[in-house]
C-alpha cells in the first residue's frame, strides 16, 4: 500500500461506553460547525445524485491519469484505485494552527533527537529515554554514527498521523520518519475537487497545496553538501512495479528531476553518478523512496537489487545526501513514539502542542499488568508491526483472541504496546448514494530544509466501512481532499 505504516486506531463501537464520535461537520450533534457553513449551504442546493455522478467521474479521472497502486501477490500486479470521496474534510484556520505548529514542533524535536542519537547521545545519558530501546533497535544504524549531515537534518520529509476526538483535541497517532507516502494523493485529490466542483472554491478561501513539489525541491536542494552549486536532485524508486510508483513518478515530474532506479546509478571516485544518454552525470541529493535495508547491498541487505553498491561510503564521506537520511527509523517505532514528548521538552524546551495517545509499554511491569487486565478496552500493537497486522482491537475482539494475545504479551512483553481505544472523529462520506459519518485521520507532510514547514492540509484518510477505524487503503480506506480555510 502506498502508506508506509498503518495509522490505525480503533474505537469502541459495540459497548457504547464511549460517547459518540465527534463529527467534523456536526460536532457532537450540537449544530453545524463553522468551517462547514458554506459547504452546508451549497449541499442543501445540491442533489445527492449529482454527488454520486461526480464520484463516478472522479473514478474515471483517476483511472485515466493512472493514479493507481499495485496490489502485491496477485499474478499480474493488478492495479487498483484508492477510493476517493467527494466530500471534503474542512479545517478552519485556528484548528490548522494547532495541528501545523504541533507537527512542526514534533519534527524539529525528532531531527534534534536523531542528530543527538548519532552523535553525543545526550538524551540517553540524561536517562530520558532508555538506552537499550534505542541502541538495540533494529532501525538503529551504527554505520552512520558521528556522521555530520548538512544542517543536521535527518528527516527532510515526515508524515505525522493526527487524529481528532473533540473540537480542539488532536492526538498524534504515529510519526513516519522513514519514507512516508501518500502526498501525491493530497495533490491529486485537490486537483480532482477543483475539476469536479469548481463552484465550491469561490465560496471558500481554501489554502493552496499545489506548491508542495516546489517546496520539496527547495528542501532537497538545501540538503546538498555545502559548496555544491546547483545540486542535482533525483528521486530513487524501486521501480514501476512498486505499489507507490505513481507517486514517485508524479513527484519527479512535478519537481522536474530524474526518476532513477538503483541500476541507473553507480559509484565511482567517491561520487554517485547516474547513467544518461550523454554519459555519467553526478548526483548530489537522492530523495530515496526505498528503505535503509535495500539502499546499498554492500552495506545492508546483500540480496537487494534496488540499491546502489557503495552508496553508503559516499554518504559517509558527505559527497551525496540521502533524504531521508539513513537511520531515521530509530525515531518512529511504536516504543520510541512514547518518548517524543520527552524529546520536545529535552531539545526544544517547549511543551508539546499535540498530545500523544497514552501508551502502555508492556515491557514495564505496571503497564503490563494494567494491559493484561484491560485487554477488552485497549488496542494492542506490536512495536515493530505495521499495516494493521499483529494488532488486537480489544472492544471487537473475541475471548480466544484476547487469550492468545495475553500469552504473547507475557512471552515477549517488549514487543508490545497498548493504547486506549480512541474515538476518531467522523466526516460525512458518500457511501451507496447516502451521506454517512465515517472515521477519518489526517497526515500532514512536514518538510525540513532551512526551516521546518508544512503545506496547509495533508492527506485525509477515511475508513469506508461502517464503524471501522482502520483507514489503511489495504483495509478499505479511501481518501478525501483536505481544506484548510484561510482567515
Amino acid at each position: 500500500m502506498p502508506w508506509q505504516e498503518d495509522g490505525s486506531a480503533v474505537t469502541r463501537k459495540k459497548t457504547g461506553m464511549l460517547k459518540r464520535a465527534f463529527d467534523e461537520m456536526h460536532g457532537f450533534d450540537d449544530g453545524l460547525r463553522k468551517a462547514y457553513q458554506a459547504y452546508d449551504a451549497w449541499l442543501k442546493t445540491t442533489h445527492i445524485e449529482r454527488l454520486v455522478e461526480k464520484h463516478q467521474q472522479a473514478d474515471l479521472i483517476f483511472r485515466r491519469l493512472g493514479i493507481t497502486f499495485s496490489v502485491y501477490g496477485s499474478e499480474e500486479g493488478v492495479e487498483r484505485l484508492i477510493p476517493f470521496d467527494v466530500v471534503p474534510r474542512i479545517l478552519d484556520a485556528e484548528e490548522w494552527r494547532i495541528v501545523s505548529t504541533g507537527v512542526c514542533q514534533r519534527v524539529r524535536a525528532i531531527n534534534a533527537y536523531l542528530d543527538d542519537i548519532y552523535h553525543g547521545q545526550n538524551i540517553l545519558r540524561a536517562g530520558r529515554i532508555p538506552a537499550e530501546l534505542v541502541l538495540n533497535n533494529p532501525a538503529f544504524r551504527p554505520e552512520v554514527l558521528g556522521l555530520d549531515l548538512p544542517r543536521g537534518v535527518y528527516v527532510h520529509v515526515a508524515g505525522i498521523d493526527v487524529v481528532r476526538v473533540g473540537p480542539g483535541e488532536f492526538y498524534v497517532l504515529e510519526d513516519n520518519a522513514r519514507v512516508p507516502s501518500g502526498v501525491s494523493y493530497m495533490l491529486e485529490d485537490r486537483e480532482t475537487m477543483m475539476r469536479l466542483f469548481p463552484e465550491l472554491f469561490p465560496l471558500h478561501a481554501v489554502a493552496p497545496v499545489n506548491h508542495y513539489p516546489e517546496m520539496l525541491l527547495r528542501t532537497l536542494r538545501s540538503a546538498a553538501a555545502p559548496g555544491v552549486v546547483d545540486p542535482t536532485v533525483v528521486v530513487l524508486t524501486p521501480g514501476h512495479f512498486n505499489s507507490a510508483y505513481f507517486e514517485h513518478a508524479f513527484l519527479a515530474t512535478q519537481m522536474g528531476v530524474e526518476l532513477v532506479e538503483g541500476q541507473d546509478m553507480f559509484v565511482e571516485d567517491d561520487t554517485v553518478f547516474m547513467r544518461t544518454t550523454d554519459g555519467p552525470r553526478r548526483v548530489d541529493v537522492i530523495y530515496r523512496r526505498i528503505d535503509d535495508d535495500f539502499i546499498d547491498p554492500l552495506a545492508f541487505d546483500p540480496s537487494s537489487q534496488l540499491g546502489v553498491p557503495g552508496l553508503l561510503s559516499v554518504v559517509r564521506n558527505g559527497r551525496v545526501t540521502l533524504a531521508n537520511a539513513i537511520g531515521t527509523g530509530v525515531a518512529d517505532d511504536k516504543a520510541i513514539y512514547c518518548f517524543v514528548p520527552e524529546m520536545i521538552e529535552f531539545y526544544l524546551g517547549e511543551k508539546p502542542i499535540l498530545s500523544n495517545v497514552p501508551t502502555y509499554r508492556c515491557a514495564i511491569a505496571d503497564d503490563r499488568a494494567y494491559v493484561i487486565d484491560h485487554l477488552e478496552e485497549l488496542v494492542v500493537k506490536e512495536v515493530a508491526g505495521s499495516g494493521g497486522y499483529g494488532m488486537l482491537v480489544g472492544p471487537t475482539s473475541t475471548a480466544e483472541q484476547r487469550y492468545a494475545f495475553k500469552a504473547s504479551i507475557l512471552a515477549h512483553p517488549e514487543r508490545f504496546i497498548a493504547q486506549p481505544t480512541l474515538s476518531l472523529s467522523t466526516c460525512p462520506t458518500l457511501v451507496d448514494g447516502k451521506l454517512v459519518p465515517r472515521h477519518v485521520d489526517l497526515r500532514p507532510y512536514v518538510l525540513t530544509g532551512e526551516t521546518t514547514s508544512v503545506v496547509p492540509g495533508g492527506l485525509t484518510r477515511v475508513a469506508l466501512r461502517e464503524g471501522s477505524l482502520v483507514v489503511n487503503s489495504s483495509q478499505g480506506g479511501g481518501t478525501k481532499d483536505t481544506w484548510v480555510l484561510e482567515g
Binding site: 483511472r63 485515466r64 491519469l65 493512472g66 532513477v260 541500476q263 547513467r275 544518454t277 550523454d278
Partner: protein, 310 residues
C-alpha cells in the same frame, strides 16, 4: 536523459507502431478473405500473420485449426500470445508507465486510455462491433499517439527516441510484411486476373498507399511498382527508404560521429542507390530479409550507444 528511460520510450514507440502494423496486416487479411478463393489459398492467407510474428507453432498447439476467427482472436486479443495487439499495447503502456516522468500528460494518457479500453475488450464484442472497426480504432490510437508526441513533446532526447522506435519498427514491419505477401501474391507465369488486382489493391491499402499508387503511376496495379513504392519511394511514409531517412536524421541530431549513425547512413545510401528491377532480379524476399537483419543490427547498435543495453 537516463539511458534506461531512453530505452523505455524507444520500446514504447516500437510497440505502438507494431500494434498498428499488426492491425493493418490483419485488416488486409480479413479483407482479402472476403474474396472468393480456393480454400487452400485462404488458409495460406490466414497463416501469413502467424508466420510474420513467428507464432504458428504456439497457435496450432492451442487453437488447432487455422480459421479466421481463431487467428483474429489469437492475433488481436490473446494475452498468451506475446505478439498480439493487446500484448503490444500492454508492453507499450508498461514502458510508458516506467518513463512517465519523461512524457507529457497527453502522451501518457493517450496510451493509458488505449490500454484501459483494450483490456475490457472481448472477442464477442470485437465480433459484434466489426473487425474493421477494431482495426481502424487501433490505427487511430496509434495516430493519436504519434500526434501527441509530435504536438507536445519537447524536441529533445525523449522525442528523438520515440521517433527512432517508430521508424526502426516500421521499417522492420514493412519489410517483413511485404516479403511474406510477395510470394503469396506473385502468380507464377499466369497473367494477373481480377482477383489479383483486388489483392494487390488490398495490400496497398494496408500501407495506406492505394491512392498514392494511383497518383504516382496512374496505371493499373503492377507488382513491380508496388514494390518500388514500398521500398524505394522517399515520399511514401511507410517505405523502407523513408524510414531509414528518418532514422538517419534523428541519429545525426543525437550523435553524428557514432557508429550507429554511420551504419544507418550506409543502409540508407544503399537503398537510395538501388533500382527496383535490379532488386527483383535477385529476388525481393531475399533483399527484404537482408534488410531486416541489417535493421536489427542497427537497433542493437543504438541500444549499445545510448541505452547501455549490452
Amino acid at each position: 536523459m537516463l539511458g534506461r528511460m531512453a530505452n523505455n520510450v524507444y520500446w514504447m514507440a516500437r510497440y505502438i507502431e507494431r500494434a498498428e502494423n499488426l492491425a493493418r496486416l490483419l485488416a488486409t487479411t480479413y479483407h482479402m478473405s472476403l474474396m472468393p478463393t480456393a480454400s487452400g489459398e485462404d488458409t495460406a492467407n490466414w497463416e501469413a500473420p502467424l508466420i510474420l510474428v513467428g507464432g504458428r507453432e504456439d497457435f496450432l498447439s492451442r487453437y488447432g485449426e487455422v480459421t479466421p476467427g481463431n487467428v483474429l482472436n489469437y492475433m488481436a486479443l490473446d494475452l498468451d500470445n506475446t505478439s498480439s495487439i493487446r500484448s503490444c499495447i500492454r508492453v507499450a503502456r508498461e514502458n510508458a508507465r516506467a518513463t512517465r516522468t519523461g512524457l507529457t500528460t497527453e502522451v501518457w494518457e493517450g496510451i493509458n486510455q488505449t490500454y484501459i479500453e483494450l483490456e475490457s475488450m472481448s472477442y464477442p464484442q470485437m465480433l459484434d462491433d466489426g473487425f474493421q472497426e477494431f482495426f481502424d480504432w487501433i490505427k487511430e490510437r496509434s495516430h493519436t499517439f504519434r500526434g501527441a508526441c509530435y504536438g507536445t513533446l519537447r524536441r529533445a532526447e525523449c522525442f528523438a527516441f520515440t521517433r527512432l522506435g517508430t521508424f526502426i519498427e516500421r521499417a522492420d514491419n514493412t519489410a517483413r510484411f511485404l516479403s511474406i505477401k510477395w510470394d503469396m501474391l506473385t502468380p507464377s507465369g499466369r497473367p494477373l486476373g481480377a482477383v489479383d488486382y483486388y489483392r494487390w489493391g488490398a495490400l496497398l491499402r494496408a500501407f495506406s498507399a492505394l491512392k498514392a499508387y494511383r497518383e504516382v503511376y496512374s496505371t493499373i496495379i503492377e507488382p513491380r511498382r508496388v514494390a518500388e513504392l514500398l521500398v524505394l519511394r522517399r515520399d511514401m511514409p511507410r517505405s523502407l527508404v523513408a524510414c531509414t531517412l528518418e532514422v538517419a536524421g534523428v541519429l545525426r541530431g543525437l550523435r553524428s560521429q557514432a557508429m550507429c549513425t554511420r551504419v544507418c547512413g550506409q543502409i540508407h545510401e544503399r537503398l537510395e542507390r538501388h533500382r527496383i528491377d535490379g532488386i527483383l532480379r535477385s529476388g525481393l524476399p531475399q533483399f527484404l530479409n537482408t534488410f531486416v537483419a541489417r535493421n536489427n543490427e542497427l537497433h542493437a547498435m543504438i541500444g549499445r550507444e545510448f541505452m547501455l543495453v549490452l
